[in-house]
Symmetry: C2
Subunit: 251 residues, 2 copies
Amino acid sequence: MAPAQRTSGRSVTSKVVALLDAFTPTEPVLSLNELAAATGLTTSTAHRLANELVEWGGLERGENGGYRIGLRMWEIGALAPRGENLRAVALPVMQDLYEATQASVHLAVRDGTEAFYIEKIHGPRAPRVRSRRGGRLPLHATGVGKVLLAHAPPEVQAAVLADLPRITAYTVTQPGLLRRQLARAVRDGYATTTEEMSLGACSVAVPVRSGPRVVAALGIVVPSLRKDRPRLVAALQVSARGVGRRLGATG
Amino acid sequence: MAPAQRTSGRSVTSKVVALLDAFTPTEPVLSLNELAAATGLTTSTAHRLANELVEWGGLERGENGGYRIGLRMWEIGALAPRGENLRAVALPVMQDLYEATQASVHLAVRDGTEAFYIEKIHGPRAPRVRSRRGGRLPLHATGVGKVLLAHAPPEVQAAVLADLPRITAYTVTQPGLLRRQLARAVRDGYATTTEEMSLGACSVAVPVRSGPRVVAALGIVVPSLRKDRPRLVAALQVSARGVGRRLGATG
């Protein structure tokens, strides 16, 4: 008998991940009461599960008794192939690209139906944009997102095209138009946006391939693409090739 | 009724963490059968729990159907205060220290009764040592470990001193001698080892403080300390102060 394990229909796994999800960049340390409040668990269940995670090393207790993410979690998270390895390989290339263009540089992977930003370098003279490292943005309204969507399986494309929320007045919300843009991105090897996510910001992005597979997208954000597009596409393509080659070399 | 949840006396939490623990730097992708074998779970339990983790994003399926650590795990792991933030702050300082000394440079925190290596820079002319990033070594036989042990709570010191395994012929295995070395480390602000972990390798290490608290240890490994000790201690102390100051600034 394990009566506490299915309280209110939630599996234990879902409670454990709810505990982990409670920690955020702005709330990296939580008291037991805060943990219970954030997860909807009773204090006693939160206490029991959190202590199991502390024993394992996934959580730690700080000086004030607060819980925080532990070293074991950092160790395991660093094993994500699309996380630390990709970031470490891409970062020097992104820095070169930033030096060469003075534009904001973004590296994203597809996470379900969203673009997940693995790294970004924000240029001081670049337009303000809404991406952040570790953040997610819609696939249909960003340059990196369009590249990732163009190379996504049909069922992902269908799910995204079924619902294209308007973010600015320029967001592409017609499925037919977006489909043509995706086909062009595959054909030309790059995708663009024009103020579709943030007013005053345009972007161009290219795929990063590991072997034949598109594993990420590399993009830059500038105030206008009018005259610089060929130069930016060339710089991006050289950079993306460099990342792909180094990904192949590190496995 | 939840008959599968306490099979063979293991809590569900322990099964979930066993699944995560199965992934290692040398085995970052695992099939379902490999997951079951590594955890001792039945294939059906491993399948059910792994799929719950996939749904959450903590695990992902790769092209060949293998499981791997997912982006959500990387995101959460990056929140560990003693992990990525400490590493990012310390790395440029460690690189300067490496340039100045051409010695291997180590940054470690205490994890229970062991030293956990957050980062290391290995010098090409430095002696071969057994530390690795993400690895653990005993507190009593390493320079960074002695510093961390010297500033650990009494119960941790007692637990470590109760069992001092011999690693080389020079490992300090007498509790009385180690106690005197720890007291000296607190008084002098640094600790040393002489071939106590690896033959041919000596080390010197200093504490990294965030405010009054010792949060990490910074050390270097050289073939001999005979003539360079004052210079190395001075370089380490300046560097450790730089890391501590920047830790304070980033919260």
